[in-house]
Amino acid sequence: MKKKYMLLPAMMAAATLVLVGCSGTGDTANSDTSAGGLNIDVPDVPMMDKLGKAEGEVNIVAWSGFVEPAWSDQFTEETGCAVNRRVAGTSDEMVTLMRTGDYDLVSASGDASLRLIAGGDVAPINIDLIPNFGDDTVKGMQGQIYDTINGKSYGVPIGRGANILQYNSEVVTEAPTSWDVVWEEDSPYAGEIIAYDAPIYIADAAVYLMTHEPDLGITNPYALDQEQLDAAIELLKTQNGIVSEYWADPVAQITSYAGGTSVVGTSWEILRKLTEDEKFKSVLPEEGSTGWSDAWMISAEAKNPNCGYLWMDYTSSAEVNGAIAMGFGMAPANGAFCETSAEAAAHCDYFHATDEEYFENVWFWTTPLEQCIDGRTDVTCTNFQQWTDAWLTVKS
C-alpha cells in the first residue's frame, strides 16, 4: 500500500498530461480556455485506426496498485492477454522505462506525460476503440491540456487527487483554512512543518503566491517566468528555515507525523488514512492546491497495441476503474462507479470524485515548459530543468 503512495505523485503528474478525456477532436482541445490551445512541436506518431487480433500479452509500467491480480486475472480470461506488470516508483523512472521500448502501456502522471508526448515515446489514442471511455468520465478529467496536445488525445484517465494540508489536531487545535501555517516565517508551528521533496513542489509555493502576492501576476503555477520562479524559490527558502523535514518517501511522511516530528504540512488523503489515527485531519485550504491526475498512455513502439487498447478499455469500466481508485485511494475517472454501491458512493464522496468545485481549486501536476501554458506570449517561462536547478538552492 505504501509503495503506491509514492507512485501517486508521479502518477498525478503523468495523469494530468495524459488525460485523453477530450473527445479527441482538435477543436475541443483548442477551445479549452485554460489551455489556450497548447500547440507544441511533437513528433508525428501514427494513431492506431482499428483493433486487430489480441497478441496474447501486454507489458505495463504502472504505479503500485494499478495492475493487480484482482482485476487483471479476469482481463486475461476475457481477452487471452497475459498481463506483465512493472511497478515504477517515480514519474522519472516511468519515463526512463518507457524509453527502453520494452513496454506497451504506462500509467503516467501529468509531469511525465508531456515529456513522453514531446519525446515521441507515446502514440495518440483512438478514442473510438475505447468504448468505456466516454460520457461517464468525470468532467474535470476530460480534455485537459496535459492529455490533449495539438488536438490529439494521448491518455485515458484513471483517477485524480489533491495534495492536501494535513495537521495533527492535538497540536494544531484551530483548524487551519490557509496554507499560511506552512509558508509564513512566524507560523506558530515553525520547526514542525513537513514539506514535499521534489522540484514540482515549487508549484505549491506558486499557488500560495497567486493569492498572497497578486502583484506577481501568477495565473498558473506551472507557467512561471524567471521573476515569478525567483519569488517562489524565495518563499521556499523562507520555508526551509521552519521545516522539520522534507518527504518524498510516504513511509517517512507517515512516521514523521506519527512520531511527532511534524504536525502540519503537505500530504495525500491516502497517507492520512494510513496513519489510522483520527487526530490527523486534512483540509483543502482556501488558496487551493496542487494535485495529480493519472492516465494510461500507449507506447509509440508498442509490440502489443491490441492488448494495450483492450486493457485501457477494460480498466475504464466503472467496476475496474473504481477498484483501482479504491485500492489506491483516489477519485476514480469513471463517475458511473459512484452509483454502483453504497460503498462506492461513500468512496466517491470522500475523494470528491464528481465534485468539480473541489477540483477547480486543484492545479494538476504538469511539466513546466518554456512556452507559457497560461497563454502569455510576451515572456519565456521557466522549464523543468530550471525548476530542478532552482530546487537545489532551496535546501543549501
Binding site: 517515480t90 522519472d92 523512472e93 519515463v95 526512463t96 524509453r99 508531456l114 515529456r115 514531446a118 519525446g119 514542525e192 521533496d197 521534489a198 522540484p199 526551509n240 521545516v243 522539520s244 523535514e245 522534507y246 518524498a248 518517501d249 517517512a252 512516521t255 514523521s256 512520531g259 511527532g260 516530528t261 511539466t367 515548459l369 518554456e370 522549464n383 523543468f384 530543468q385 530550471q386 530542478t388 536547478d389 537545489l392 538552492t393 535546501k395 543549501s396
Partner: protein, 312 residues
C-alpha cells in the same frame, strides 16, 4: 601373435579407438602445460583474465561511461540525454552556489564521522585487546559486528525511530530537561558514525592486539603514564589501521544519501543531489559525482604522502 589378433577384432572399433584418444590426450595437453611453464606472461594472463574482465569490462567501463555522460546534455523539455561534448554541466556546478555548499557540507560530515570513529575506536580497541577478559572481549567483538548483520536501510530506519520527536532519545533525555537534535546535520553524523563504526573499530582492535605487551611494560618502566603511552606508542603503531579504517568511514560517508533522506531533516548531501537528478538530468548528476571522486583521490594522495599506505 595370431591369437591376439582375434582377441582384438571382437572388440568394437569404438572400444579400440577409445583408449587411443585417452592415451593421446595427456600427450596433447603437455604442450599447453609446457608452454604455460615456459611463459610466465601467459600464466599471469590465464590467472588474471577473469578478474580483469570483471574489473575492466564491468566496473571501470561503467564508471567511464558515467563520467562521459557528464559531458553530454539533457533536452530541457523531454529530459532526454543527448550525446555530445559540453562543459556546461561543470560550469553549472561552479555557478550555482548550492553545489559548493552541498559539497562542503558533505565533506565536513565525512570528516566528522571519521574523527568520531577514531575517537571511539582507540580506547575501545585498547580495552578489548589489553584489558578485557576473554569472555568480555568475545562479547564486545560480537557487539561491534552485530550491526553489520542487519540491513543498511533497517539501521537507518532504526535511527529514525530513535531520534523522532516522541522517540527513545528524547524520552530518555526528558528527565534531564534536555531534548535531542531531532532530524538534523548532527543526527546524520551520528547515524553515519553508527553505520560505519565497525569498519574502523575492527582494524584498530586487530592492530592493538598485535602490539606486544612488553612495549606497554617498557613504556611504563620508563615512567610514561597511560595517556603518554597511548599518544607516543599506541597511536603511531595504529596509524596503518586508522588509515585503513578512515578510508572506509570517509568514502562511505561521502557517497551516502539515505541517511540524509531519513534522518537529515532538511540536510542536503552530495548523494541526495545526485539521487534526485539521476532521472531528471543524468549529465549534471554525473558531473557532480566527480566531486566525491576528487575528494577521495585527494585524501588517498595525502595519505600516501605520509607513507602509511606502504605499511598497510
Amino acid at each position: 601373435m595370431t591369437s591376439t589378433v582375434p582377441r582384438v577384432t571382437p572388440a568394437e572399433p569404438g572400444g579400440v579407438t577409445t583408449p587411443g584418444p585417452g592415451r593421446v590426450q595427456p600427450a596433447g595437453s603437455k604442450p599447453l602445460s609446457t608452454r604455460l611453464h615456459r611463459s610466465p606472461r601467459l600464466r599471469l594472463l590465464g590467472l588474471l583474465a577473469l578478474p580483469l574482465t570483471w574489473l575492466v569490462g564491468v566496473y571501470i567501463f561503467s564508471l567511464v561511461m558515467l563520467l562521459i555522460t557528464a559531458f553530454w546534455r539533457t533536452d530541457p523539455f523531454t529530459s532526454k540525454v543527448i550525446p555530445g561534448f559540453t562543459l556546461d554541466n561543470f560550469v553549472r556546478l561552479v555557478e550555482n552556489p548550492a553545489y559548493l555548499s552541498t559539497s562542503l557540507r558533505t565533506l565536513s560530515i565525512a570528516l566528522l564521522v571519521t574523527i568520531l570513529s577514531v575517537v571511539f575506536s582507540i580506547p575501545l580497541g585498547i580495552f578489548m585487546a589489553k584489558v578485557a577478559s576473554p569472555w568480555l572481549r568475545a562479547f564486545l567483538a560480537v557487539a561491534i559486528t552485530l550491526p553489520l548483520w542487519a540491513g543498511y536501510l533497517v539501521k537507518i530506519l532504526a535511527m529514525r525511530i530513535t531520534f523522532t520527536e516522541n522517540g527513545f532519545f528524547n524520552s530518555a533525555l526528558e528527565p534531564l530537561g534536555l531534548s535531542g537534535p531531532g532530524f538534523s546535520y548532527t543526527t546524520v553524523v551520528l547515524t553515519l558514525t553508527y553505520l560505519w563504526f565497525p569498519y574502523m573499530a575492527l582494524p584498530v582492535y586487530t592492530a592493538v592486539r598485535q602490539i606486544p605487551a612488553n612495549l606497554f611494560d617498557a613504556s611504563a618502566d620508563l615512567g610514561a603514564r597511560s595517556w603518554t603511552t597511548i599518544r607516543t606508542v599506541v597511536v603511531p603503531l595504529l596509524k596503518p589501521a586508522l588509515i585503513a579504517g578512515s578510508i572506509f568511514t570517509f568514502s562511505l560517508s561521502l557517497g551516502d544519501y539515505l541517511a540524509a533522506k531519513f534522518v537529515g531533516g532538511s540536510t542536503q548531501m552530495i548523494g541526495s543531489v545526485i539521487a534526485s537528478n539521476i532521472n531528471l538530468n543524468p549529465p549534471i548528476a554525473a558531473a557532480f559525482s566527480v566531486v566525491p571522486i576528487v575528494f577521495v583521490l585527494v585524501y588517498l594522495f595525502a595519505v600516501r604522502k605520509t607513507g602509511a599506505l606502504d605499511r598497510m
